[in-house]
């Protein structure tokens, strides 16, 4: 690669550790770094806390060639803190455009993972990201939609390579396309969305896992309790 380009990675998980979103996003950033990109990681939940950190984030985003955000699906949609981040970035980018201080439109790519077996649960969140990207003067590169996030469980993809090989291949394809200034091939999205295991097995293992966790916490018998009503 002849020219050095920059990517800002917005780590958009509220989890402070063992975040599946950060694990997937980091793998993608590594793929870009391997192709000569300079990267900067920003914790979105931290950045929205103070004006000083917001300003630093805006500065990084405005000068980047590409912004990558990775977050978990919360109730069919973006987690609240991510929406708050979008609101702030949108307001900033609009003021920048209105003041004609910049006509630079960094690329924008979203990576969304959900705990359901079917990746299509993410489709509304992807639509929202697309609208945000367009309204905040980014160049929309699309979004990778991933199901069965529980399989990754916050581990690095290298530790899950056997099951997550399709996802890893999709991240490589996306990184390659962006590095070559090409649109991300449609098969990348299909590959990323492929289930890591048969859905029925994931659901069964998931249900067993909840029981085990509740048992470890001494609340197995209370797991179905209804604290807010007798109904």
């Amino acid at each position: 690669m002849s020219k050095s380009r920059s990517v800002v990675f917005l780590e958009a998980s509220p989890k402070k550790q063992r975040s599946t979103s950060v694990a997937i996003g980091s793998n993608f950033i590594t793929q870009l770094e391997n192709r000569g990109w300079q990267s900067e990681n920003i914790s979105l939940y931290r950045a929205i806390k103070t004006e000083k950190l917001q300003t630093q984030m805006f500065r990084s985003i405005d000068s980047a060639n590409l912004v990558v955000i990775s977050f978990p699906l919360y109730v069919d949609c973006l987690p609240s803190g991510v929406i708050r981040g979008f609101e702030l970035i949108h307001t900033h980018r609009i003021s920048l455009a209105n003041g004609q201080k910049s006509n630079h439109s960094p690329g924008f790519l979203a990576i969304i993972n959900c705990g359901f077996p079917e990746a299509h649960h993410n489709h509304i969140a992807l639509e929202i990201c697309k609208v945000f990207a367009q309204r905040a003067h980014f160049t929309w590169h699309g979004g990778l939609s991933i199901g069965m996030g529980g399989v990754i469980g916050g581990q690095s993809l290298a530790n899950r390579a056997k099951m997550a090989h399709n996802l890893i291949d999709a991240l490589i394809m996306a990184a390659e396309a962006l590095t070559n200034d090409q649109p991300i091939p449609s098969e990348t999205y299909t590959l990323a969305a492929k289930p890591f295991m048969p859905p029925f097995l994931y659901a069964r293992m998931g249900n067993l896992g909840w029981n085990m966790e509740a048992k470890q916490n001494g609340v197995r018998k209370q797991i179905k309790s209804r604290p807010f009503t007798d109904a």
Partner: protein, 212 residues
């Protein structure tokens, strides 16, 4: 005009008990047009008479008291049914599950809810069980409670965007599946119109909902 616009289609009118309606107000601006719209919603419900018990939660007033959902699943496997972080979200979850209808009042934000409204909704996953179940051909979480409220989304837009209005409607419909709502409906209002036009739009919207 029949004021029972929220419920007439699903036979809720046959309900003999007082119907509990909860409004989660996710607006955070002091735009007078928003106030006009909100007042219209409240007036409509109050015109239902004594058969309705209305509760309004202005989330802006609670914003500092609400922490973001941490995605820890503690409400499923540590303190089942309740978030382990004790703040206003526990009261909101309690009011939600005990309501017959919950109204989400929000600016349509890139097609979705405001961050303010979503902050409360993210904390409501305690109302479900962690267990997976196949519903309409895809996996969802099982019910924790026997009865869940109907969901109404009232969204407003600074500028007309058919695309965002459609996303908003799709989002509420998906929430209705995941949150086991027996019924859901969305209404979208442009705010650039003057007060009279907002009122006219509101009345028209109600009439249309009756006709369905």
């Amino acid at each position: 005009m029949n004021p029972y616009f929220l419920i007439c289609r699903r036979g809720f009118l046959m309900c003999e008990n007082t119907m509990k309606i909860l409004i989660l107000d996710g607006s955070d601006s002091e735009n007078s047009a928003v106030e006009v719209l909100f007042d219209q919603v409240v007036q409509q419900i109050e015109s239902f008479g004594e058969k309705f018990d209305l509760q309004i939660i202005h989330l802006k007033e609670l914003e500092e008291q609400l922490v973001y959902c941490q995605g820890c699943f503690g409400c499923w496997v540590e303190t089942p049914g309740k978030c382990k972080y004790v703040d206003a979200a526990q009261d909101i979850a309690k009011e939600t599950i005990n309501a017959d209808i919950v109204i989400y009042f929000t600016p349509i934000t890139f097609g979705g809810y405001s961050a303010l409204l979503k902050k409360a909704l993210d904390r409501n996953i305690c109302l479900l069980l962690p267990y997976f179940k196949k519903v309409q051909g895809e996996i969802h979480h099982k019910k924790r409670y026997k009865k869940y409220p109907a969901l109404i989304g009232i969204g407003y837009q600074d500028q007309d965007s058919h695309e965002e209005a459609e996303i908003f409607a799709s989002l509420l419909a998906r929430n209705a599946i995941n949150m086991w709502a027996p019924y859901s409906q969305t209404f979208c209002f442009p705010l650039h119109a003057g007060k009279q036009e907002i009122l006219a739009n509101f009345q028209q919207m109600l009439s249309q909902s009756e006709g369905h």
